[in-house]
């Protein structure tokens, strides 16, 4: 099954290499990977979509935590999230007829024409992966010259954010199957 993981990492050189290398070493296949800044200049955010057995999601989360520069990890596969993928597609539009058809399709799908040239047109769609997929499917009636997709970025719904999760109390919680609640890292209370 596909898992979506979000990691908050320290914004330092080499961090992405550490994360990617972990997937390679443990032989997990990444479908997509995005990295970008957050509103905190010290923290970057990575979204990984990977193919793995159901139990392996947790294993990867725990292994990611072992990386010193990884601050927080969440497997958001089964929680309500907003997911977005962005595609840029260059299609051949040699004449007015093709250009009009592309324009109509974009209008219909909520995509944008971002560059119109004499031979080709570049269109852009950001949306859930399924709508991006079906849009690209529809574009096949034209000749696709070039395409790029960013891969998934995800954000959990509601007020709780990744930064607010108190990692001390939650990061190991899932690891005591017969015990509900409680994590076990650094508890000062008895």
């Amino acid at each position: 099954m596909k898992h979506t993981l979000i990691c908050l990492v320290e914004n330092k050189p080499g961090v992405l290499n550490r994360v990617v290398s972990l997937f390679r070493r443990r032989n997990f296949n990444m479908d997509s990977l995005t990295v970008g800044r957050t509103h905190n200049p010290d923290i970057s955010r990575i979204t990984v979509v990977m193919e793995a057995e159901p139990g392996d999601g947790k294993k990867v989360v725990m292994m990611l935590y072992k990386l010193i520069d990884v601050i927080e990890v969440q497997d958001v596969t089964n929680i309500p999230t907003i997911n977005r993928d962005l595609a840029l597609v260059k299609v051949r539009t040699p004449d007015a007829y093709a250009r009009n058809a592309v324009t109509d399709l974009c209008y219909e799908r909520g995509a944008r024409l971002v560059d119109i040239g004499p031979e080709v047109t570049i269109v852009e769609l950001a949306g859930a992966e399924e709508s991006v997929e079906s849009f690209v499917e529809a574009l096949h009636q034209f000749e696709i010259v070039e395409m790029v997709r960013t891969g998934r970025v995800s954000m959990g719904r509601g007020i709780r954010t990744m930064e607010q999760r108190d990692y001390k109390s939650t990061r190991f919680a899932a690891y005591a199957p017969s015990v509900n609640g409680g994590g076990s890292a650094g508890h000062d209370d008895e």
Binding site: M63, Y167, S184
Partner: protein, 578 residues
Amino acid sequence: MKLTGAEIVWECLLREGVDLVFGYPGGAILPIYDALTKYPQIRHVLPRHEQGGTHMAEGYARATGKVGVMLATSGPGATNLVTGLANAMMDSSPLVAITGQVPLGAIGSDAFQETDVTGCTLPVTKHNYLVTRTEDIAYTIREAFHIARTGRPGPVLVDIPKDVQNKVIEFHYPEGELRLPGYNVPGKAHPKEIEAALDLIHSAKRPLILAGHGVLMSGAMDEIRSFAEITQTPVALTLLGKGGFPENHPLCVGMMGMHGTAAANQAIQQADLLLAFGMRFDDRVTGNLKTYSPDSKKIHVEIDPSEINKNVKVDVGIVGDLKMVLRQLLPKLQTGQHQEWIGQIRDWEEDTSERDILLRLAAHPDGKLWAAQVIAELFRCTEGKALTVSDVGQHQMLEAQYYPHTRPHSLLTSGGLGTMGFGMPAAIGAKLGRPDEEVWAIVGDGGFQMTLTELGTAMQEHVNINIAIINNSFLGMVRQWQEFFYEERYQSTPLKNPDFVKLAAAYDIPARRVSTKEEIEEAVQWARSIDGPTLIEFVVVQNDIVYPMVPAGADLHAMIRRPKPSESPDFENNPTAI
């Protein structure tokens, strides 16, 4: 105070309490070596190969509980560290390696002796750094030591370009909190987890403790002993757990796993509760996971969260420091009685002694020298009080079987990586760290030759270790696999060896050869009486087999065992029949 980056390195090491480092100089680390001249309070030991240096640093670390330090130059110096770092990573040993790097401007240009060291060592270190500013050296070294020794310890590498070592800056030691938002050192368990564990502990009929390296690393020897005695729970040890619980204790069932005692493995398979304390269910101790301890509930106390449920699904997983967690459990424990269970284990142990090679040889001496006899005699002559360092192979497993350990940190061996060549250099490091210990390196003829260059180090530094080479003129453990699983095709395992006694003589190291049981005691006492390194070559039977053996991936209870006399068809003619 104005200091060069190189001087700052030593200032920081001093503040970490370092008084001994291992290292090998070269162009890119010369500023650091030059600066060492100003710090005579730090002893520097020069190995003959950087790999040997890392094993020395690890032996030192594991014998003392302190962080071992190894220096190397860029390029080949640094790549020679990789095996030692990987070994320390697998066995969770605290090391800090400092490597010189080509100057910043040359990085990425394929400069002379440039290697991407942080890239090469990424998977074999707990963490690593490339320091690009002299101002960052002190903080980085402080953080490196903290990461190396806390949580699940491990090796950390700091790569410092030559110009960063040379630059002079105003030095302030960075006090205050480390900035490590992604690093968390587990401590106590959550009360709910303690309750859940207690429920299982108090309802168990056939409980068994699996004690691993974590016992030693968290210093939980007393706690585990109290736990076992209060609840009357037998204790099985992993190879690296040896010393965590005294092997002469009535509740100790010995080592588990591939060459563990049959009693320990049978107990694991029949237990109704496994208490895994600071161990990681390595494949060498579990055998086939599908049939592993099928009827037991499992409690796993482990400092590394990624180990819990990694190989074996557990019922209660507690991430924490073992000593702290046991201290939470101890006051709440009810006293237990498991007479029937312990009686059952005794029966298994009796069945084992019937198969024991030493008893058989005592009844039917054959005039040959067997490796097990060497180890058992060594145990007797040293009164079981030596700090032994084994290499990898049959002799390592025989050491584990015939040299029971009763004190913590009295056995050092390469467990997770199984690195041939670890033993002798690690013994040098251990002796330098614990000069009051009697240190024996017990090594095979194969593994010894992987790092025998370190005889030079033992000579130069006058390190008082005794080296026992168990010479079977074979890569014995591989030979054993070939005998069992490859129809006795001994492909590339026989060894033509040098004269080890002459070899030692070339290093001015006193040496002897022993080829009968009767000579062992005298030779061992001779070695003990000499101040400085000694070497004894024990010429042993070639076609020896370490029993019992769980073939890789087989069910843990499906051990290949030495036949009992009553089961051996040709017993009269061949009493030691393999």
